[in-house]
């Protein structure tokens, strides 16, 4: 029976993958549900094994199965065939480390995971011990992929050295940035890598309990991850003797209730404790007093899911990739008005222009690119004039931007940047936890001031700039603190959208 790999990834499912899988099964194929390769425009993308590697077809509709059925066994030609996956230019140019198994393996099969290099990292970590493990992570240059870019090894070391009978590893899977989906893809496509990564962190710092904090908006990812937890637990990976060791470790999946700010680590911890998702002042840092007041490592999904690879292949293999102080790879998430949206993992250092134009293929509408928002809804808007900016933490910061969680959202020339600036304030107002004044009141006033500017009150621009300074320097967390990035970048790079008369002619979209 021919085995057909069909994604069960949320994006693919929303494009009809379940119907495709059903049609394939009815046609007598063995269907293995996988994650996604990340080529969103090709989903649902189905794959079959051939002696030369996997051959892909996409985007497939259920109605295509009849015509595909005769060719699938041999990976033969069809109008939807994209050829060998690994040879596809979009895939071939990537450096897949964090996403190496995503779309390839059955996410719920421990055997499949082991067959694709799973647990090699953990085994090595156990062999070399916690101090060497942390040294390895530190040496790899791995930084927090949630957006702050804090060195993961330093964080782990802090928690490892904190004295406490109880410690925690918390995985931040509250992926709320618009245009990002990498965490979800890991949870759906390679959840055991994340489990292994959490276990490595747990052994390194001496934690016996892990939590993963996910979102209610990710029902499929949560279901898949929960099943993966069960599978690993059944195989002895989690429990009193996790992975056959004398360490107890287990992981609990917790689902948030839709607050963006709970992606902020301290608000997340509050929420995990059953409290209102409100930001804590730091210090104390979570590594000293985190979940339930105990030392806690809290890392993003991508950070933790990358740790097994680093431990398996060594710090140097990872550290030799990248640019400047941004080592290794970044899973870019291309979205918005872009021709080739999807997940693209590459070493740091590509220019923004390469990402948008060469990889993304420009806009989906075919109109000129006018702005790119990097790093989520609180990231700066970059105009094409800044497309020479290398994609790394420091280079972006030098241009008042941020990488964030790796989201890249493309806009064509129909975008109204004053409206985008206003949206940033609106977003902040909606998502503010309400604790600190600059964010709670400032975001509301920000919308009002931008309305005044749009209505022609040029004098209000100075007030907006004052407000942005207050929010940036005065806010308690990054939500209020980073909202000025999109606002000020729009004001700076697209001043014509704010000036009176608004000089730029509106483009009909």
């Amino acid at each position: 029976m021919t085995r057909v790999y069909t994604p069960a990834d949320t994006l693919a499912v929303s494009l009809g993958a379940d119907a495709v899988a059903q049609a394939l099964e009815q046609s007598g194929f063995e269907v293995v549900r996988t994650g996604s390769r990340g080529m969103a425009w090709l989903e649902p993308l189905i794959e079959v094994d051939t002696p030369g590697g996997r051959v892909g077809y996409g985007p497939v509709a259920a109605a295509d199965v009849a015509s595909l059925a005769p060719v699938l066994a041999a990976g033969g030609p069809h109008k939807l065939c994209i050829g060998k996956i690994d040879a596809h230019p979009w895939m071939a140019r990537q450096t897949r480390i964090t996403f190496a198994r995503c779309g390839v393996v059955d996410p719920l099969s421990v055997e499949d995971y082991l067959a694709h290099g799973g647990l090699r990292g953990l085994k090595r970590a156990l062999e070399i011990g916690w101090e060497a493990t942390i040294a390895e992570i530190t040496q790899s240059g791995l930084r927090g992929r949630g957006g702050a870019g804090f060195p993961a090894g330093v964080k782990w070391k802090g928690a490892a050295e904190a004295k406490s009978a109880r410690k925690y590893v918390v995985c931040n899977a509250d992926e709320g940035d618009s245009g990002t989906f990498a965490d979800r893809m890991i949870m759906e496509g390679d959840p055991m890598a994340l489990i292994e990564g959490m276990a490595i962190a747990a052994f390194a710092i001496g934690a016996s309990k892990g939590y993963i904090y996910s979102r209610s908006e990710y029902p499929l990812a949560n279901a898949t991850f929960e099943k993966a937890l069960c599978a690993v637990r059944a195989a002895g990976g989690l429990g009193p003797h996790a992975f056959g060791t004398n360490h107890a470790f287990d992981i609990e999946l917790r689902i948030g209730a839709g607050a963006y700010v709970c992606g902020e680590e301290t608000a997340l911890l509050e929420s995990l404790e059953g409290k209102r998702g409100q930001v804590r002042a730091k210090p104390p840092l979570p590594v000293h007093e985190g979940l339930f007041g105990q030392p806690t490592v809290i890392n993003n999904v991508l950070t933790l899911a990358t740790a097994p690879w680093i431990m398996a292949h060594g710090a140097d293999a990872y550290a030799k990739l990248g640019s400047g102080r941004s080592r290794g790879t970044i899973p870019l998430q291309l979205a918005g008005n872009v021709k080739f949206p999807g997940l693209y993992e590459a070493p740091f250092g590509l220019t923004l222009g390469e990402i948008v134009n060469d990889i993304g293929g420009g806009t989906a509408t075919g109109r000129p690119v006018r702005a790119v928002q990097c790093g989520g809804p609180l990231g700066a808007y970059f105009p094409p004039a800044l497309f020479d900016t290398p994609y790394d933490y420091e280079a972006f910061a030098a241009r008042d931007g941020l990488i964030g969680h790796g989201g890249v959202v493309v806009f064509d020339d129909s975008v109204d940047m004053a409206a985008q600036a206003r949206f940033a304030m609106e977003f902040c107002a909606i998502e503010s936890c309400g604790k600190c004044t600059p964010c709670r009141i400032g975001a509301v006033r920000g919308q009002e001031v931008i309305d005044r500017i749009i209505a022609g009150e040029d004098g209000a621009i100075a007030l907006l700039e004052d407000l942005c300074r207050t929010m940036k320097l005065g806010s308690l967390c990054a939500l209020g603190g980073f909202t000025p990035y999109p606002v000020l970048s729009a004001l700076r790079h697209f001043h014509e959208d704010f000036a009176q008369p608004r000089t730029r002619t509106k483009v009909a979209s």
């Binding site: 607050a259 700010v261 209102r276 409100q278 002042a281 730091k282 210090p283 107002a429 909606i430 998502e431 503010s432 936890c433 309400g434 604790k435 600190c436 004044t437 600059p438 964010c439 709670r440 009141i441 400032g442 975001a443 509301v444 006033r445 009002e448 001031v449 007030l463 004052d466 407000l467 300074r469 207050t470 320097l473 005065g474 806010s475 308690l476």
Partner: protein, 947 residues
């Protein structure tokens, strides 16, 4: 006179061994590690602007006014949440910070009403102060933006309002409710700009779990939460620090005044007992002082059947003295007696017992402690050598495991309960031994590790079983016992408690406590670190009250939990000055300082000081006085500040005794129940109207300061002195400080106490003498006062009060938060909004067996009498147990209680009465007759002379 302004350091003090040196605006300062920059700055004399920070609460970091710059660090961190670091160089004033603070304040004011001139906290508003401090001159956002100016007011609480339009969402109220009070009634609802403070599930303050402690009002930096008295009266112009006159916690308050009018009572942060916290009674329920029912003129009558006749003070005193002398001449000295009050000051109590011993010439003096903590005095003196609790309240902050037995502090000692809850939230373990599931068994963020729901009357059995487990399982602290205790008594005791009949298993049937739970609790207490015992009247008010106190002392000694912070045996005293009343020689057998009247040396001290010959024989206790009255040998009683008719057991017996006397003198604020049988009524003064001292449950002597002239004309000590002089025994004190000087001169434990020292130190815990010139926070350090701790055998003897077919249920009694004891004060305040009648708690099973529905009128009958009240069906009580409060006179709960009492001290057995409960359709005949008689007895004819 001016307002007492307390410094606010922004964040709580930290104690650490390591000191950290840093520089703030060029000032070098050294503070304990962990201190915030904000606090360090204040200590260095630099005020950093702040709104959400206050030193009663942990730092929160929300207002963003306190931002500072630190050399070598990026950004502008908040000084409240950033701890100091060695060598740090902090700038609190830079152009950038000035700009940021002004801009933050501009945001605040863009959503705040601009009605400062008509605002109740005008001049006392931190928002107003900060707007000035940061130099805000303009609100560029205009007035048309989104705002909260139309937020509704919540005026449901009787004492304070919540005005949402003025709220700046700093969460100080929410945090005070959590961190200080521990009730968790308040929360922030909604997010972002919609964030607002709500009580409970947004049902308003009154209907929420709010206990009206006032911590939120005190924490509020604006007019959002403001006292109604402040709104009505206006801001205070001066304040006086004084001590609360309710329970034995002894909270220090600032009485904030306008002239002679109290604007509000604000808890004083320097109060060592309350540390700036308060409860609904002390904070708000002081309105009784000006209640229309307060009697301000002396009154006399020849017969209790006659109406009262108002007379002048001169006539009242002359008449009273004449009556007393007449009775003395006719029936002898022993026909006279006095009852001192635990509500009055030490000085007043001292004078009353002096009047009895020196003026009446008889030791017939007793106090209401007779009915509450007399077993504590006897039990602890026998075992440890001192008739008082061993610790200060701060001690609880170092306890690891706490036994709470026969006490319900969240209702009866709320401020101490909050301090205990704070420690429990930090991880200390709690063992509750109580027939009822009191709040501390399970309340927000606090849960008892063990609740042993014993049958009323079996304390001694349970406590002996606890020590049985400790001794037989080898958990005793042998080293402590060897070093500190009397070994002979220990050997006998250890053999006694090891007997199989005291095993939890053997006693399970008797006590109703599962043996497994009892063993677990014993192990936890013995091995859980610092173990502290707190108890209340659930221990003492039993036929074996004294035995139970001794059992607690045994338990503390055998586990080595005496003589250092965090441990000890701690009676929670019911009344503000019950400790003091006992200290001051209120018992018939003891002169001040717990020295027996038969002791020649002691008597000699007082005889030379008082210039009289003292009787070496103990006088009559209250129950003996009452019995003697019925027998016809006791004829005249001076009762200061106690309502024995309502508070003493077996009301009918008390009534008969009072009716048999020829001269009953009631010295009180109101025509209480006892006054129905009185011939002379001397109006009393409130704690606001006199100087003096109270001694709280931790032996802490604190000043009571006069904030207004006595509305009745005289402070109580002056009245006693007038009466004494009129009887021919001269007293010539010009001020209560002179009385204290006399106490210090005659009583070794008070030798070092003076008003001067009290003013300097704030408060003093006795003993205060040459060895401990600043007092003694923790007793028995290194050595027991009596030398070696003495173990006492605690044979369990079941009370004679037993259930049977006629009276199958056990009644026990207690207090509720909003009311205080017989309710004479609290019933005359808005506190009745929470508790306007006493109800009988009954288990659903017992209710169903009797066909009762929640709220039904029921008849509560014992062999002593019967009364009616309404019932509340709840599983807080176990089947077979019923419970009621006794705050309302019409409940007549003590008509039902019996005259059984403690074998050693006669403390009545209030906590166990066999009763039957049955449906009823109205008051009993006794209640109806009593009410009619009360009404008759309270008639007053106003005389021209008195006007």
């Amino acid at each position: 006179m001016s307002l007492v302004r307390e410094a606010d350091y922004g964040t709580p003090a930290r104690s650490a061994d390591a000191e950290v040196r840093l520089e703030i605006d060029g000032h070098a300062i050294s503070v304990p590690a962990g201190t915030s920059i904000m606090r360090a700055a204040r200590l260095a004399g630099v005020d950093v602007p702040k709104l959400c920070a206050t030193d009663m609460l942990e730092a929160f970091g929300s207002c963003r006014l306190c931002l500072v710059e630190i050399e070598g660090r990026a950004g502008t961190p908040a000084s409240c949440t950033t701890p100091v670091a060695a060598g740090m160089k902090v700038s609190t004033q830079t152009p950038l910070l000035a700009q940021l603070r002004r801009d933050v304040m501009e945001l605040y004011i863009s959503d705040h009403p601009l009605d400062c001139l008509t605002c109740p906290t005008n001049g006392d508003c931190e928002l107003q102060d900060m707007a000035g401090a940061v130099g805000l001159r303009d609100v560029r956002y205009g007035a048309d933006g989104e705002n909260h100016l139309d937020e509704p007011k919540d005026e449901s609480n009787p004492y304070f309002t919540f005005d949402g339009s003025k709220c700046i969402v700093c969460s100080r109220c929410v945090r005070a409710c959590e961190e200080v009070q521990g009730t968790f009634a308040l929360t922030i609802d909604g997010r972002g700009f919609d964030s607002k403070v709500v009580a409970g599930a947004d049902e308003g303050f009154f209907d929420s779990e709010c206990v009206s402690c006032g911590a939120c009002v005190q924490a509020c930096p604006t007019a959002t939460l403001a006292e109604k008295s402040l709104i009505e009266t206006g801001t205070p112009e001066h304040s006086v620090v004084t001590t609360c006159a309710y329970c034995g916690v002894g909270c220090a308050f600032k009485a904030e005044m306008r002239g002679e009018e109290v604007v509000r009572m604000v808890p004083y942060k320097d109060g060592k007992a309350n540390r700036g916290h308060s409860c609904v009674k002390g904070r708000f329920a002081w309105g009784y002082a000006t209640h229309k029912e307060r009697i301000l003129k002396p009154m006399i009558r020849a017969q209790v059947s006659e109406p009262w006749r108002e007379v002048s003070w001169d006539e009242a005193i002359a008449h009273t003295a004449a009556e007393l002398k007449r009775i003395q001449a006719k029936h002898g000295r022993s026909a006279l007696g006095a009852i001192t009050s635990s509500r009055c000051t030490n000085e007043e109590t001292y004078l009353v017992q002096k009047l009895a011993r020196a003026g009446f010439g008889v030791n017939n003096v007793d106090t209401c402690a007779r009915v509450c903590h007399s077993p504590t005095g006897y039990g602890l003196k026998t075992t440890f050598g001192t008739s008082a609790g061993t610790q200060d309240f701060d001690s609880v902050e170092q306890s690891d495991v706490i036994i709470l037995i026969g006490a319900n502090p969240t209702d009866a000692h709320p401020v101490f309960a909050s301090r205990m809850k704070k420690r429990l939230r930090q991880g200390a373990k709690l063992i509750v031994i109580d027939p009822r599931r009191i709040d501390l068994v399970r309340s927000p963020h606090v849960a008892a590790a063990h609740h042993l729901p014993l049958r009323p009357g079996t304390n001694v059995a349970v406590l002996t079983a606890l020590t049985h487990v400790i001794v037989t399982e080898g958990l005793a602290d042998e080293a402590f016992v060897r070093a500190r205790c009397d070994l002979e008594s220990h050997a006998a005791w250890a053999a006694f408690v090891s007997e199989q009949r005291w095993s939890p298993e053997a006693l399970e049937k008797t006590t109703g406590v599962p043996a497994r739970d009892l063993r677990a609790a014993a192990r936890l207490f013995a091995a859980g670190g610092n173990g502290a015992i707190y108890y209340g009247l659930g221990i003492t008010e039993h036929s074996q009250g004294t035995t139970a106190v001794m059992a607690l002392a045994n338990l503390a000694m055998v586990t080595g939990n005496i003589g250092r912070p965090g441990v000890g045996v701690n009676p929670l005293r019911g009344q503000n000055n019950v400790q003091g009343a006992c200290d001051m020689g209120s018992f018939p057998h003891e002169l001040p300082g717990y020295r027996h009247v038969s002791d020649d040396a002691t008597r000699a001290t007082f005889e030379s000081m008082w210039n009289v010959k003292l009787d070496a024989e103990p006088g009559l206790r209250i129950p003996n006085m009452l019995d003697a009255a019925i027998d016809g040998s006791f004829k005249a009683l001076y009762v200061q500040g106690e309502d024995i008719l309502q508070s003493d057991p077996n009301t009918k017996h008390v009534a008969a005794a009072l009716a048999a006397m020829e001269c009953v003198i009631v010295h009180d604020l109101f025509l209480n129940e006892t006054a129905n049988y009185a011939h002379v009524f001397l109006p009393g003064s409130t704690f606001l109207e006199k100087d003096g001292t109270f001694t709280n449950a931790e032996r802490r002597i604190q000043r009571v300061r006069r904030v207004m002239r006595p509305k009745n004309g005289y402070a109580d000590w002056e009245v006693t002195q007038l009466l004494s002089n009129a009887m021919g025994y001269v007293m010539a004190y010009r001020h209560p400080s002179e009385i204290m000087d006399e106490i210090a001169a005659t009583t070794p434990t008070f030798a070092g106490v003076s008003y001067e020292k009290l003013d300097a130190l704030g408060s003093i815990q006795w003993p205060c003498n040459e060895k401990a010139p600043e007092g003694t926070p923790v007793m028995h350090v290194g050595q027991f006062v009596s030398g070696r701790g003495r173990f006492m055998l605690t044979e369990y003897v079941a009370t004679d009060e037993r259930t049977g077919p006629r009276f199958p249920l056990l009644l026990t009694t207690g207090r509720i938060l909003s009311q205080y004891n017989v309710g004479a004060q609290t019933r005359r305040t808005a506190n009745v909004a929470w508790h306007d009648e006493d109800r009988l708690e009954i288990h659903p099973l017992d209710a169903e067996n009797r066909g009762l529905n929640d709220g039904d009128w029921i008849k509560l009958a014992s062999r002593a009498g019967e009364t009616t009240l309404r019932c509340k069906i709840t599983d807080r009580v176990a089947p077979g147990v019923v419970y009621t409060t006794f705050h309302h006179p019409d409940t007549q709960a003590n008509v039902v209680t019996t005259d059984y009492s403690d074998w050693a001290t006669n403390c009545p057995e209030y906590k166990v009465t066999a009763v039957q409960v049955s449906p009823s359709n109205g008051p009993t005949q006794w209640q109806e007759e009593y009410e009619a008689a009360s009404e008759r007895a309270r008639r007053i004819t106003q005389s021209e002379a008195a006007k």
